[in-house]
Amino acid sequence: MINASHLTKIYKTDAIETTALSDVSFHVDKGEFVAIMGPSGSGKSTLMHILGALDIPTSGSYILDGQDVGKLKDDDLADIRNRKIGFVFQAFNLLPRTTAIRNVMLPMIYAGVAAEKREETAKAMLTRVGLGNRLYHTSNQLSGGQQQRVAIARALVMNPAILLADEPTGNIASAQAEEVMAIFRRLNDDGHTIVMITHEPDIAIHSKRIITVKDGKIIADKKNRQNRVKLQEIKEDG
């Protein structure tokens, strides 16, 4: 599903070059649930941007669902983001004062899905994340956890190749965080491929594989089948 090889990203500001990622290669199969961990400044955000087709690598190749994303133009990248990637952001990023169902329909509007189909799919997805009774609540009428569930529904409506979550529980209370992680696990059980960026070990533990990044390089890549990796071990790698 994801095939990243020798990804390097160098930022140039004035005369200073900063290497955010250097020669990162890994592979994610369909149906995996991967957590990418690392302290701040480790390059995990840069990696997230490249995986999310929000940015292109300086060198190396990134193949997503059989398509080489590394060399696409802006509008083609927008198309990839629309059809193949479902984003879940730390700050939810719902449109303010807009109903849950309209927020969820937004990616389908950009994809040109017919109005009836849009509504039907949005309702189904909101029901799937447990918000079937909150369709017409606006973002500010929902709790943090509920808002994140709306964002997850929005990420799912285009049936993307991967779900890309960036610190999905960073802004919500821990009880609701558990709820959100339970939804991710259930989605993964249903066959969705999930890549999650986090710096919290007790969130990473919900995944099935943990990649640890530091100073722009992968320093650990461990399976976590049935959550066998111990919390302690993750903490040591981080």
Partner: protein, 407 residues
């Protein structure tokens, strides 16, 4: 992105901050309002002038004396003394002239006219009996000057309704009353129907007397100030003009038409000159109004730039979810066009109301032209695109990463 969604999103965004939307629109409202008000007042002015000229008769030619010459010095056109009653009689009776129906020589001057203790300064015109036919004049009371009056140097006068009011006040029948022009007593024979009008040629503010009396007893001259000629129809105007020209050149013994001591004007010529003046004036005013429209447009650009900065995060999100550059541009352009077209519509109503009120106050006909409505909508839409372009480009050019990070 579908139009329906685009409109829904744009209207949603604009209603989030109603006060700002209203203020941004105000500049366009005032600009379009000013343009429409001035354009329609200009058209009303033009219509008033041309109506007035048309009401004098569309198949009318006016023969004016040429500039007075003494050696190489040329005086003001129309101020000459080269035309006489004999010229007018020749136009009437010459076998060369086949296209003319009525000939009306006139001599006019401003005089002080008194009746009892009232007096007014007005235009006194010496006329012949066909004057009322030539000038489409109908009588409200009494009779017009007759041929007998002209032949017998009668001291009778037909006074315009304005003069009648000035001299006798409202509600008094002036027919049979006596007035004095240049100390000579005249009996009022009739009052014509009011034609309205104002400004340089007001037929209601005139006194008509027989031309013979005017020349010999009031003014003491032997020339006429102009000869109005009514052609048989408006189709033979050019022919009539040529025939009269040839006849008068012969009579005045002038071989070179360029040296003619008279000129012949049609109503069309006069209309053209008058509308040119009013047209220039209203174009100038509209130009000034257009500047306020430009200022309004810059206001829109300013607000749209603020909006783009405020909504940086939202734009980033939209791009992350798959909005293409063009989609973002279209969305922001739609918002600015909605702003300006809305302003244009309100401005249109404002302008129409304004020109209606002003027209009423200064007594002009109220003209509502379709072109000004089309202008309001097209121009305001155009302003939306023109001044919304840069902010929209700025929004579309934002990198989704930077935009999402923006706090």
């Amino acid at each position: 992105m579908e139009y329906r969604e685009l409109l829904a999103e744009s209207i949603g965004a604009l209603t989030l901050n109603k006060m700002r939307t209203a203020l941004a629109t105000l500049g366009i409202v005032i600009g379009i309002g000013a343009v429409i008000a001035l354009v329609s007042l200009g058209q009303a002015g033009q219509k008033a002038v041309s109506d007035q000229i048309q009401s004098l008769g569309s198949n009318l030619l006016t023969v004016l004396p040429g500039a007075q010459r003494s050696g190489a010095v040329r005086g003001a056109a129309g101020g000459g003394t080269s035309l006489t009653i004999a010229d007018a009689n020749a136009i009437t009776s010459s076998p060369q002239i086949t296209t003319v129906q009525n000939v009306s020589p006139e001599i006019s001057r401003r005089e002080q006219v008194t009746a009892g203790r009232n007096n007014t300064n007005t235009q006194v015109i010496g006329v012949v009996d066909v004057y009322d036919d030539v000038r489409n004049m109908t009588m409200a009371e009494g009779t017009f000057i007759t041929k007998r009056d002209v032949d017998s140097l009668a001291k009778v006068a037909v006074i315009g309704p304005q003069v009648a009011t000035d001299l006798f006040g409202d509600g008094i029948d002036p027919v049979g009353q006596s007035i004095r022009i240049n100390k000579i007593a005249f009996r009022v024979a009739g009052v014509p129907v009011s034609k309205g009008g104002s400004g340089f040629f007001n037929q209601d503010d005139m006194v008509f007397i027989p031309i013979s009396t005017a020349q010999q007893q009031v003014f003491g001259v032997d020339y006429v100030s102009d000869i109005s000629v009514e052609a048989k129809s408006s189709d033979v105007m050019t022919e009539a003009e040529n025939q009269i020209g040839t006849l008068l050149l012969q009579r005045h013994r002038i071989s070179d038409p360029a040296q003619a001591d008279f000129q012949i004007l049609s109503q069309q010529d006069i209309l053209g000159a008058a509308t040119q003046v009013t047209g220039t004036f209203s174009a100038l005013l509209s130009g000034i109004a257009a500047i306020s429209l430009l200022v309004g447009g810059i206001g829109i650009m300013n607000i749209m730039l603020v909006t783009v900065t405020e909504r940086t995060r939202e734009i980033g999100l939209r791009k992350a979810l798959g909005a293409k550059k063009q989609t973002v541009i279209t969305q922001f352009l739609t918002e600015s066009v909605i702003l300006t077209v809305m302003g244009g519509m309100f401005g249109m109503f404002l302008g129409i109301a304004l020109s209606f009120v002003i027209a009423k106050i200064i007594n002009l006909p109220f003209v509502l032209s379709l072109s000004s409505i089309v202008l309001a909508i097209v121009v305001s839409g155009g302003i939306g695109i023109l001044f919304g372009w840069y902010p929209a480009q700025k929004a579309a050019g934002l990198s989704p990463i930077e935009a999402l990070r923006y706090e």
